[in-house]
């Protein structure tokens, strides 16, 4: 039995009524959890309850995995041709086009990002990602490898089976698309746990997935807490692979659970403390703009945020003045008001955490979970705000003189997700980029992502790559087939 979430929006940027079924989406049905418990979904703009959603516990995860396995054995996996999978993913993309504004509104309501960003970036990019992977579905190819003429040797890139996917709260819909796109294109069935902070767009997607015509059980979406539902998924004996995006701390737990259960394959997209290196000879205006986007985008709640900004001595004062002025110009307020750049942080918890980091620097006044863009200078490399991931609109600006030294400082971190380099000298740009230990190196830009370019971390920022053709590897098992054409024993 499903319940329905209904809300009427009457805001300057979005007006409309939305109404969609909620529940745990298992085997093509919306159901309550076996224990009947619920999770409160809070609006970070005002701290009030939006709605309650059903909670998934162990037994529900098990049910979802069984439904996924059934679908994999009958209506999905290699029972559905690549062309069929492509057609359904394309249909999904077209339906998301149709519901574009609605999805953006739900995201802004649930996460606190502005409607403008949710529409123009999150939802738009999510749709593009789904359409991108639709194009791969009928192009999954292995290799034929020459050994000798008495043999036919080839590889198949087979779907893994039931895959578990755990999605965070910072880009709920977008990161859901990064996960389901390649997994479905390659023929897997999914049990996906959205974040308990931001489950609404994921739940809305259930009925869109159904409308697109995916067979029952191919996609199962079950909201729950990490220590219960997330843990159950990570340690389930019939889940062949777990893909997790979130904090490094929890990423370890996922990997541990995998190793203690069935050694399921693990890919992790974790935290970062990414360096932006700004040389004297950069285009200063552009560097300021990109560095600002690098740290303040999504209220600083981006794993690849350029949160350590290294500025060469020659332009340091000028950069800082312009950067601080720009930070001051960021308008913080209601996500559904016009002309607002930044909404609240996603939750009380996150707000408290960031504020405690700020307390170890300079304190700012705030209302709701709103935090003013904050800039620190005069730091030393061992400070908490320099080493640890804050995940808020808090940038640290560090002066440097020497190229080799800044590269060393930039690499002096357990993380390795992203980096950026600003300079007009192509040799310096590429040399620096090649030496930085990070999965993405942006040159004269930051936070630029494309559905077809891979993204992921070095070191403790993660394992594996999302997006691009690379993501397909995460969701296939390689089988080598050796056909004897004439060797005799």
């Amino acid at each position: 039995m499903s319940s329905t979430f209904t809300k009427v929006f009457d805001t300057p940027v979005f007006k409309g009524k939305i109404s969609f079924p909620t529940g745990l989406y298992i085997g093509g049905e919306f159901v309550k959890g076996e224990k009947g418990t619920t999770i409160d979904v809070i609006n970070p703009t005002n701290g009030e309850l939006i709605t309650k959603v059903d909670e998934a516990l162990d037994a529900d995860i098990d049910k979802a995995v069984k439904a996924a396995q059934k679908a994999f054995d009958t209506t999905w996996g290699l029972n559905a041709s690549g062309a069929q999978r492509a057609a359904l993913l394309n249909k999904l993309g077209l339906l998301m086009d149709k519901y574009h504004d609605e999805l953006a509104a739900i995201e802004a309501l649930d996460n606190g990002k502005t409607f403008g960003w949710a529409k123009g970036t999150d939802t738009a990019f999510a749709i593009q990602t789904i359409k991108y992977y639709a194009g791969w579905a009928d192009k999954i190819s292995g290799q034929v490898i020459e050994t000798d003429e008495n043999k036919l040797c080839y590889t198949r890139h087979e779907p893994m089976g039931v895959v578990g996917q755990i999605v965070p709260w910072n880009f709920p819909l977008l990161l859901l698309s990064w996960k389901i796109g390649p997994a479905l294109a390659t023929g897997n069935c999914i049990v996906l746990k959205p974040s308990e902070f931001t489950p609404l767009t994921a739940i809305r997607m259930c009925s869109i997935i159904e409308e697109a015509g995916f067979p029952k059980g191919v996609v199962n979406i079950v909201t729950g807490y990490g220590p219960t539902a997330g843990a159950a998924l990570s340690s389930h004996m019939n889940v062949e692979k777990i893909a997790f995006t979130g904090s490094t701390l929890v990423g370890r737990k996922v990997m541990e659970a995998a190793s203690k259960s069935n050694l399921k394959a693990v890919t992790l997209e974790l935290g970062g403390k990414s360096p932006s290196i700004i040389y004297d000879d950069c285009d200063l205006e552009q560097a300021v703009n990109w560095a600002s986007h690098g740290i303040f985008w999504n209220h600083g709640q981006a794993c690849c945020a350029g949160s350590r900004i290294f500025v060469q001595a020659g332009i340091y004062d000028e950069f800082l003045a312009r950067f601080v002025a720009r930070a001051k110009n960021i308008k913080v307020g209601d996500p559904f008001a016009e002309d607002i750049d930044q909404g609240p942080q996603v939750s009380q918890q996150q707000y408290d955490r960031i504020m405690s980091y700020i307390a170890s620097g300079k304190e700012q006044g705030a209302t709701g979970y709103f935090i003013q863009p904050t800039v620190f200078t005069g730091t030393t490399p061992d400070m908490k705000i320099v080493q640890e991931e804050i995940f808020g609109p808090v940038g640290v600006v560090i002066k440097f003189t020497d190229q080799d030294d800044v590269i060393k400082q930039a690499n002096d971190t357990i993380y390795g997700l992203a980096s950026s380099v600003f300079t007009q000298d192509i040799n310096r740009a590429l040399e620096t980029a090649h030496k930085l230990k990070a999965g993405t190196a942006w040159i004269n830009c930051h936070n630029q992502l494309h559905a077809n370019v891979p993204f992921g971390g070095f070191k403790q920022s993660g394992i594996g790559r999302e997006l691009g053709e690379y993501a397909l590897h995460n969701y296939t098992n390689t089988k080598a087939v050796h056909v004897n054409l004439g060797h005799k024993m």
Binding site: G82, Y132, D138, K139, A451, E469, V483
Partner: protein, 501 residues
């Protein structure tokens, strides 16, 4: 002002109107040819005139190339990201699907294919091929190649610019899709010549290309003769690449024209005399069905047709008897393409029919044994009876491509003999092996000199599998990811990060 061709059909399989503009499609508009001129288009099922379509000449090709070049520099090429190119291709596929029945009706009117076949195979396949390439448009990838840390070395797979495409009459719209799909996905602009025998579906395609939103000049469709429009394309100094599907004889002329002009890249999809090898231990029932599928559909007008059927002696007599019976039954289902019970259509033109009949006479003269068929079917239209004759690989009627519903049978003893006979041809487009012995199937397949190998099936073409010839059946591959290579040039970029002289 170009005219339109319109006809209302009231048939058991299609009730509705077909409607096309008959002008040349250049720079997003239908225009009259510079020198006037048109070519009559016939209905091969009846032999009657359908309409006439504009015929271009050198001047029109020049205008089209200029438009394509301009579009490439401004509104296509790498100016438009792959995602956008993919979006337009998907839209095009959607529109063709929307008008599926009308396209199928036009195709059947123009070629005589049974309506159900036009719909499911020709037009249906067109939609899926375009969708397949829509999905590749944002996945054109070069490589970075490790050399040393003093260099950034990588490749780009860039479009050519303006490409020329010449398309045959046997699968008119479907062959257009094999060409424009990868060419547009990779960012090229196109000047395409349909066959002057079968231009109707290309004319309608032009209209939906506009509706889909392709910028003017990206696709230009110039109907005309091979000796004028085709020749101009092949020798045009501003066309960087030409792709041709048709006869080996014309393929030679295209390659020669390129050699004598600007050495434009050439890919050719030519004829075939493909061997279908059936061993004693084949599943006989299935082998007969597939062998029939290999030669008789489309009245045998398929480049990869399994037109030489090599049958091992142990099952030879049984095969001849049952296969001939199947051929005869098919002949009984010849007729009006719009009748629901029709399974066998005409040859595309009077000329083609006479050519096939000429080979049948030759076969008889060379001492071949005719088991069934061997004559024209009826008096109206260009129908030929499904024919089965047997002989040896030395006969000209067995070595040369007939391109009709004519199966040539050859008896063989051993596997080695079969392979030798199969490879004893200047062609190499396709081949098939029927046997229940897996190791033998693959071993023989690997030994055959052909671009497509079918084991226990025939002509199950897939969007993802490359298709093309060995030897004089052509060079280059269509379909699959391989077709992308056909329409891109590789640029290697070496960036010095610190090497000093």
């Amino acid at each position: 002002m170009p005219s339109t061709f319109q006809q209302t059909l009231d048939t058991p399989t299609y009730k509705g109107t077909v409607n096309i503009n008959t002008g040349l499609f250049i720079n997003g508009k239908f225009v009259d040819p510079v020198k006037g001129g048109s070519i009559d288009v016939y209905n091969p099922a009846t032999g009657k005139l359908l309409t006439s379509v504009a015929a271009g000449s050198k001047e029109d090709v020049d205008i089209a190339v200029a438009a394509a070049k301009q579009a490439y520099k401004t509104s296509w090429g790498l100016k438009v990201p792959g995602t956008q190119r993919g979006k337009l291709l998907n839209k095009l596929a959607d529109l063709i699907e929307r008008d599926l029945d009308e396209f199928a009706a036009l195709e059947s009117l123009n070629t005589g294919k049974p309506f159900a076949v036009s719909k499911r195979f020709d037009i249906g396949a067109t939609v899926s091929t375009i969708r397949y390439y829509a999905g590749f448009a944002d996945k054109i990838q070069g490589k970075t190649i490790e050399t040393s840390e003093l260099k950034l070395a990588y490749t780009r797979h860039e479009p050519y610019g303006v490409v020329g495409q010449i398309v045959p009459w046997n699968y008119p719209l479907s062959m257009v899709s094999w060409k424009i799909g990868p060419a547009l996905a990779t960012g090229n602009t196109i000047v395409l010549k349909p066959s002057e025998l079968t231009p109707l579906t290309a004319q309608k395609l032009a209209a939906v290309i506009v509706e889909a939103g392709f910028p003017p000049g990206v696709v230009n469709i110039v109907n005309g003769y091979g000796s004028t429009v085709g020749q101009t394309i092949a020798e045009h100094p501003l066309i960087q690449k030409v792709a041709f599907t048709g006869s080996t004889a014309t393929g030679r002329r295209i390659q020669e024209a390129s050699a004598k002009s600007n050495l434009k890249a050439v890919t050719l999809e030519l004829g075939g005399r493909s061997p279908n090898i059936i061993f004693d231990d084949a599943d006989l029932e299935q082998a007969i069905k597939w062998a029939s599928m290999g030669i008789f559909p489309n009245a045998g007008q398929t480049c990869s047709a399994g037109s030489r059927i090599l049958v091992q002696e142990g099952i030879y007599d049984a095969f001849v008897e049952k296969f001939s019976a199947a051929a005869k039954a098919l002949g009984g289902a010849a007729g009006d393409p719009f009748s629901a019970s029709t399974q066998h259509g005409p040859q595309v033109s009077q000329t083609q029919m006479e050519r096939v009949l000429g080979y049948l006479d030759l076969a008889k003269k060379e001492g071949a044994t005719i088991h069934v068929g061997g004559e024209r079917h009826g008096e109206q239209g260009y129908f030929i009876q499904p024919t089965v004759f047997s002989g040896t690989n030395a006969m000209r009627s067995i070595r040369e491509e007939i391109f009709g519903p004519v199966a040539s049978l050859i008896k063989f003893k051993t596997e080695e003999e079969a392979i030798e006979i199969a490879n004893d041809t200047e062609y190499g487009l396709a081949a098939a092996v029927f046997t229940e012995n897996n190791a033998r199937a693959i071993r023989v397949a690997h030994a055959l000199e052909a671009g497509s190998l079918f084991i226990n099936n025939y002509n199950t073409i897939e969007n993802g599998m490359p298709f093309g010839g060995y030897k004089q059946s052509g060079h280059g591959r269509e379909l699959g990811e391989y077709a992308l290579q056909t329409y891109t040039q590789v640029k290697a970029v070496h960036i010095n990060l610190g090497m000093r002289l």
